[in-house]
Amino acid sequence: MTENLTENHHIPESPSLYAKHKKVYPQAITGAFRTLKWKVTAAIMAFYFITPWIRWDRGEGEPDQAILASMSLRRLYFFNIEIWPQEIYYLTGILVLAAVGLFLATAMAGRVWCGFTCWQTVWTDLFVWVERKIEGDRNKRIRFDQGSWNLDKIWRKSLKQFIWIVFSLLTGAGWIFFFNDAPSTAMNMLTGQGTYEEYGFTFLFSATTYVLAGFAREQVCIYMCPWPRFQGAMFDEHSLIVTYEAWRGEPRGKSKAQNIGDCVDCNLCVNVCPTGVDIREGDQFQCIGCALCVDACNSIMTKLGRPLNLITYDSVSNQMARERGDEPKKRLIRKRTIAYSILLSAVVVLMAYGLLNRSELEINVQRDRSPLFVQLSDGDIRNGYTFKILNMINVPQTYTLAISGLEGAKLSVIGLGKDPVDTVTLDVEGDTVATYRVFVRAPIETMRSQFEDMEFILTNSETGEVVRYDSRFAGPVR
């Protein structure tokens, strides 16, 4: 058996464990999917480069950028919403939404995210477009790269690199503007007054853009990105993916003889592919589902007057049905997509509910662990608490603090009078966290056990908003 194998097959010279990078030269193509891709790219570019410049008035002393993730102010601004670090679960929610959304899209239509919206695809597409404009289309570029260095090659290559670098710098800076006030940061960076962080991160993101979109390209999708490796688990035989109708395409050939399939083996589908795969070999993990090969094949089929969509967005089950001559059925509603949809809706509803009922007042109470309690000269037991009030409204507020659930208990707050009282008034500046040391004392006779449950009740004196916090009151072992 072994002998047969070696006899019938070629024996390579010597095995190399490392493959030389084969440059992909994607050819230009027009068509429905190419147009869609340009529209999506335009929308992404508009979102990325324009949104940080949208202004939103929040009043005196507050940032007026509509979307801003401020590290220095520790706030996430989104139009009229201000998210505090304590509410980081909203970010978790958005990430869960993104993940489930991605699963749903993949279950419905395969790698649409990869093919149309992924940053790697979009930026690579733009970089290749620049390359094509300067060096020419596929064949020209191949000859150009193989040809010797002359003045024409030097200036074209330099111009390409220059435009790439400028675009990378714009991309890098564009990222910074989501985290810092855009107009002032741009001005500072242009006049050389930016901070190390601003320049450093701009450089970092520019460098990664330049390397990943200019050089690494499809290598990122094939070797670096984990998504292609497990997205196979998200789709099934009913998901729409880029398929080749082998049943009518094969045997491929250029001859006009009988019994020849529709595929004329022009290789245009391979030439336009940004990752350099041959879709006619079936679905493969290198395929990012951009559907440019669909455009390529249709352009040829139109010219030849043959039926369109030899390469098409279709499901594996439909292809099998077509091959048998059955009627293909679109099955977008399946157990899998229903499950993802329910999950997606649940998270959306949860997030919306959370945002609509979001309180702009929060309290954190930390009971002292040491000492657990102290006995006072008059025999009373006293516990200490660190009381934090998060006032998320950007005007100063006044609150009234009271306790319930502990008979005969009195309050005192460090810095606000020494005599124990029933309620205290606490002032908190706008948009800040105020920390108070609160002492609660109660007669030892009222304590039935070592730990008594009690409750802090904080009332906004103006709006009447009430926040409660369950805590405990410790005493000696009984």
Partner: protein, 297 residues
């Protein structure tokens, strides 16, 4: 029959299923497909090795027999920290506050909300480093070491009194130290019965006595021998650091045996003087912090 064979030469085949070549290696009949890594991957590996070598030269890295290679940049995280601390001390807002604390009397510091919070925050760290070993974290106390979070004070709980105690200590080596000594009643003055009686009296003050006639006898002993320092009503005497005996708070234990032992042969706690060990600002900061623990007067 299976023929055992050692293959020295690479025997490369093409796998029919995947259409991929094997590496030619074989282990117990298991062959390996050759799916080569991209070559640039290899170059990034070499680049990271190079990065490490450059790092060794620039930064502290290899140990030598007596010392270590300090790197051409002479980087040291310790020096970094020292620089950071100097920068912190020179930070204008902080420097201004420290200057104010140094020049102002402690009561005035406490009245200024900003200064009080600044001092208490600094004092918290200094307390944890220097005072907590005896007084417990946040002044929770231990037998023999007073609780600082309650409202019972031996030498006074005002800011000034606390500052004085910290500065000069109690029974310390400083000339201005707070000092007092409870007589050794067991050997010099009182009989065992008298001590038992006076203990019974003291316990009766917090309703813990079981023998009222002994307590009555003890009241006389107390009036004669103890009231001079501890007060007529056992309310304590801060001039002598004499504890209040009519509350439920006991420094050396609240059992009958502990009280008898303390009357018979008293223990005297010692608190060191912190002058010279902590600077003036630090002492004030700790005083403000201790005052804020809950018992400040």
């Amino acid at each position: 029959m299976v023929k055992m064979e050692v293959k020295l030469m690479a025997n490369i085949e093409r796998d029919e299923v995947s259409g991929t070549d094997t590496t030619g290696h074989e282990w117990d009949g298991i062959k390996e497909l050759n799916t080569p890594l991209p070559r640039w991957w290899l170059w990034t590996f070499y680049a990271s090795i190079l990065f490490a070598v450059v790092w060794w030269v620039l930064y502290p890295s290899w140990p030598t027999l007596n010392t270590y290679w300090k790197g051409t940049l002479a980087y040291s995280s310790r020096v970094d920290l020292a620089n950071d601390l100097t920068a912190r001390d020179n930070e204008p807002q902080r420097a201004a506050r420290v200057k104010k604390i140094a020049s102002m009397p402690i009561a005035a510091i406490s009245e200024d909300k900003d200064l009080r919070e600044f001092a208490a925050a600094g004092g918290r760290v200094i307390f944890a480093d220097n005072c907590a070993p005896c007084h417990g974290s946040q002044g929770s106390g231990a037998p023999g070491y007073p609780v600082l979070a309650d409202d019972d004070w031996l030498w006074g709980g005002s800011l000034e009194a606390i500052e004085t105690t910290i500065r000069y200590g109690i029974r310390s080596t400083h000339d201005d130290t707070r000092v007092s000594e409870m007589p050794v009643f067991g050997t010099d003055y009182l009989s065992k019965t008298q001590i038992a009686d006076v203990t019974e009296y003291v316990l009766s003050l917090t309703n813990k006595s079981k023998d009222s006639s002994a307590a009555m006898r003890g009241a006389e002993v107390f009036a004669g021998d103890c009231a001079a320092c501890h007060g007529e009503k056992a309310e304590g005497g801060r001039d002598f650091g004499a504890p209040k005996l009519s509350d439920g708070i006991w420094l050396h234990g609240d059992s009958r045996e502990a009280i008898i032992a303390q009357v018979t042969k008293p223990k005297h706690g010692v608190m060191p003087t912190w002058q010279g060990r902590l600077d003036d600002v630090a002492i004030k900061e700790v005083a403000v912090y201790v005052h804020s623990l809950g018992g400040g007067e």
